[in-house]
């Protein structure tokens, strides 16, 4: 497993890729998209102080969106929050040019609340945000895959499986990512592992059948499809299509 993170983009590139001149700033979507293109997993935290503090206590800086002013004269600003001083009741953030500037918690709360308490944690794919849930992490990792960063997504799925062992959606995502990147042996192994945990998991039955068909094992593929039990029309259609594919001889 990779351990060192290397950024893909230079600071100048990051700058150039996030600014929209006419808006004089950066949209949240592009902050996320650019960080991801840079090889980071972007995890949106729950909009609570609890989630914020959970990340800070693990030394994960959180980028928050704040409105430094009122809604009738908004001054939107991203601030990396670095820590929390419980004794002084202050939030330490790189708010402007002063490193670890202390803001009274009440002030910070008022500014942050105006963005609906929006915040993201950026982690390299071999790290997990402290406050993460399996499903939201999977979604963030899958976003990496969606823009073609499949190897980063694979690392992220594997990382997640160290915390949520035998989580079937995560295993399924990992198997699919292997399949997508033509690592068929690994994909097959994980689909089979899923079926050990849940022999009736229809998505894995279907995808493994598809893989077996692609690798010339049609008989076993059909046996797997026979095991699918579902009243879901979409799954039935999928299984029907796979069956059709096997009948056609799997390759065009």
């Amino acid at each position: 497993m990779q351990t060192s993170y290397t950024p893909r983009l230079s600071a100048q590139e990051l700058d150039a890729r996030t600014l929209i001149p006419a808006k004089g700033g950066t949209l949240q979507i592009e902050l996320i998209a650019t960080a991801r293109a840079n090889g980071m997993l972007v995890y949106p935290i729950e909009p609570t102080f609890e989630a914020l503090f959970a990340e800070l206590s693990a030394d994960h800086p959180v980028i928050v969106l704040v409105n430094r002013s009122y809604s009738w004269y908004p001054l939107w600003h991203y601030a990396p929050v670095l820590g929390y001083d419980a004794k002084a009741q202050t939030i330490l953030s790189h708010f402007a040019d002063t490193p670890k500037e202390a803001l009274p918690i009440a002030t910070f709360a008022a500014l942050w609340e105006r963005s609906g308490n929006w915040g993201v944690v950026l982690v390299p794919p071999e790290k997990l945000p402290t406050s993460a849930t399996a499903k939201k992490f999977l979604s963030a990792a899958y976003d990496l895959e969606k823009i073609g960063m499949t190897s980063e997504a694979i690392i992220a799925y594997k990382t997640a499986l160290t915390r949520w062992q035998d989580d079937i959606p995560l295993l399924f995502a990992l198997a699919n990512a292997y399949y997508r990147s033509h690592q068929l042996d690994q994909a097959e192994e994980i689909y089979r592992y899923i079926l050990l945990i849940d022999p009736l998991y229809s998505f894995a039955l279907n995808n493994l059948a598809d893989l077996l068909c692609q690798t010339g094992r049609s008989d076993e593929a059909l046996q797997l499809l026979d095991q699918v039990v579902t009243d879901n029309a979409e799954i039935q259609a999928l299984v029907q299509a796979t069956r059709q594919e096997i009948k056609m001889g799997c390759r065009e």
């Binding site: 650019t34 293109a37 002013s69 001054l75 009440a106 002030t107 823009i147 990147s181």
Partner: protein
């Protein structure tokens, strides 16, 4: 010209993304509640929203050389949201942003609210704390 290039590269990337998999495979989206079947109409809408964003970017002064890369790094969901809401989404800016042009009244109001600790418009203010 630039936009048609973007369109072409997106169509290619989508077809490459799906080509690897046979149509009979359930994608990871199914476990996240995303629909697995994308109709050709939905595909067209996705392509058009990327084109929309490219056009708005160009009008908003984004360097045309990097528009393609910027849009390529968005997921379909992000590109669609962008196409629909680019005008209204908040854009976070520098904390040192100039407020020249703000009328004196606003300046004074915000200065006071800064000091009260309910805003943080100016970098030089230290909020009074009452906690």
């Amino acid at each position: 010209m630039k936009i048609s290039k973007l369109l072409l590269s997106f169509v290619l990337s989508v077809s490459l993304f799906t080509q690897v998999l046979s149509a009979q495979m359930a994608s990871t989206g199914v476990v996240l509640g995303e629909s697995d079947t994308v109709s050709s109409k939905e595909k067209l809408v996705q392509i058009l929203s990327r084109e929309d964003v490219a056009q708005r970017f160009e009008e908003m002064g984004v360097d045309s050389k990097i528009i393609e890369a910027r849009i390529a790094s968005m997921t379909n969901e992000e590109a669609s949201k962008m196409a629909l809401q680019i005008e209204t989404l908040p854009a976070g800016a520098d904390a040192g942003m100039s407020i020249v042009g703000a009328i004196v009244f606003i300046f004074i109001v915000l200065l006071i609210t800064d000091i009260l600790g309910v805003t943080k418009v100016f970098n030089f203010t230290k909020p009074i704390t009452n906690n």
